[in-house]
C-alpha cells in the first residue's frame, strides 16, 4: 500500500506483504514519522497471483490468474493546520474586508460574528479569500 503526495509526488510505503483489507492510518509514513499536511493518494499494488483450481476429481488442475489490486485508490486530505485570519481592511461605505486563508485544504466557509453578522461559503475551497462584511 503506497501513499503519494499530489504536489511533491513523494511516495511512502505504508503497508507491504499484507492480506488485510483495511489499514488504520495515523497520518504517518511507514516508519511512523508524521507526514506533512497535504493531499495524498493511497493506492494498492500487488502482483496478480496464479491460482490453481481443481475443478473435478481426477482431472488436471486448472491454473487461473487472479486480478491485481490496481485501480483501487483514494484521495485523502491531511490538514492539521488551522485556517488563519490575515487581516481586516476598511473598504469604505461602512464595510470591512476580512482576509483569511487555509493553505492546505482551502476554505469552505467564513463567518463573521459581531453587531453585524456575515457568512460566505464556497464549494471550490479557495486557499485565500477576502469577504466583505458590514462594519457594524
Amino acid at each position: 500500500m503506497k501513499l503519494k503526495e499530489v504536489t511533491t509526488k513523494k511516495e511512502y510505503t505504508l503497508l507491504s506483504d499484507s492480506h488485510a483489507s483495511s489499514f488504520v492510518w495515523k497520518g504517518t509514513d511507514g516508519s511512523n514519522a508524521p507526514l506533512p499536511d497535504g493531499f495524498y493518494y493511497w493506492t494498492l499494488e500487488a502482483d496478480a497471483p496464479t491460482i490453481t483450481f481443481i475443478v473435478e476429481e481426477g482431472k488436471e488442475p486448472v491454473p487461473k490468474t487472479a486480478p491485481a489490486y490496481n485501480g483501487q485508490s483514494q484521495m485523502v486530505l491531511l490538514d492539521r493546520t488551522a485556517p488563519e485570519v490575515l487581516g481586516v481592511h476598511p473598504l469604505g461605505n461602512n464595510r470591512l474586508a476580512i482576509e483569511t486563508r487555509d493553505m492546505v485544504g482551502g476554505l469552505k466557509k467564513v463567518t463573521t460574528i459581531g453587531s453585524a453578522q456575515g457568512s460566505e461559503s464556497w464549494t471550490t475551497s479557495p486557499i485565500r479569500t477576502a469577504v466583505a462584511v458590514p462594519a457594524g
Binding site: V24, W25, K26, D37, A46, F53, Q74, L91, G106, R128
Partner: protein, 146 residues
C-alpha cells in the same frame, strides 16, 4: 635665490603632477571602470542566478506554518463584493499545497485530526475473485459490508 628655485621646483612638480593626474587618468580610469563594470556585470549575473535559484527553491519548498512566511495575498482586489476578484493565475504562482482553486470534490476523505487516525479500506479483490471462481460470488468484503 635658493628659496626661489625650491619653490620653482615644487611648482614644476605640482604642475607635472597635475598634468599626469589630468592626462594619465583617462586610460587608468577607463581600465578601472572596465574592471568595475565587468565585476558588476558578473556580480549581476551571479545575483540573477542566485535569485533564480532562490525562486526555484521557493517554488519547490512546501508551505510550512511559519509566521515569517505569512504574506499579504496579492491576488484579490477589494471591490466591496462578497467574494472579491478571483485570480487563480496568481494563486497557481503562489504554490501552497494544491492550487488556489483545488476542488474539494476531488477528495472523498478528510483525515479526522481530532481522532488522530482513520481507517483506509479497500475491496479484497482476490477473495472476491476466488469466491466467483468457486461459484459463490461476494460483491464486497470490506469491513462492515455484509
Amino acid at each position: 635665490m635658493m628659496k626661489g628655485r625650491v619653490w620653482s621646483r615644487s611648482l614644476a612638480f605640482m604642475l607635472l603632477g597635475s598634468l599626469m593626474l589630468g592626462l594619465a587618468p583617462a586610460a587608468v580610469w577607463a581600465e578601472a571602470a572596465d574592471r568595475v563594470g565587468t565585476a558588476l556585470v558578473e556580480g549581476g549575473k551571479a545575483l540573477q542566478v542566485k535569485v533564480a535559484a532562490a525562486v526555484q527553491d521557493l517554488k519547490e519548498e512546501p508551505w510550512v506554518d511559519d509566521p515569517n512566511k505569512t504574506e499579504t495575498p496579492q491576488y484579490y482586489s477589494f471591490s466591496g463584493d462578497q467574494v472579491l476578484e478571483e485570480r487563480p493565475d496568481m494563486g497557481a504562482d503562489r504554490l501552497g499545497y494544491a492550487s488556489s482553486y483545488f476542488s474539494m470534490n476531488e477528495t472523498s476523505n478528510i483525515f479526522p485530526v481530532a481522532q488522530k487516525q482513520m481507517t483506509l479500506s479497500w475491496t479484497d479483490m482476490l477473495a472476491t475473485w476466488i469466491s466467483e471462481q468457486e461459484g459463490t460470488p461476494k460483491a464486497d468484503r470490506r469491513p462492515g459490508i455484509p
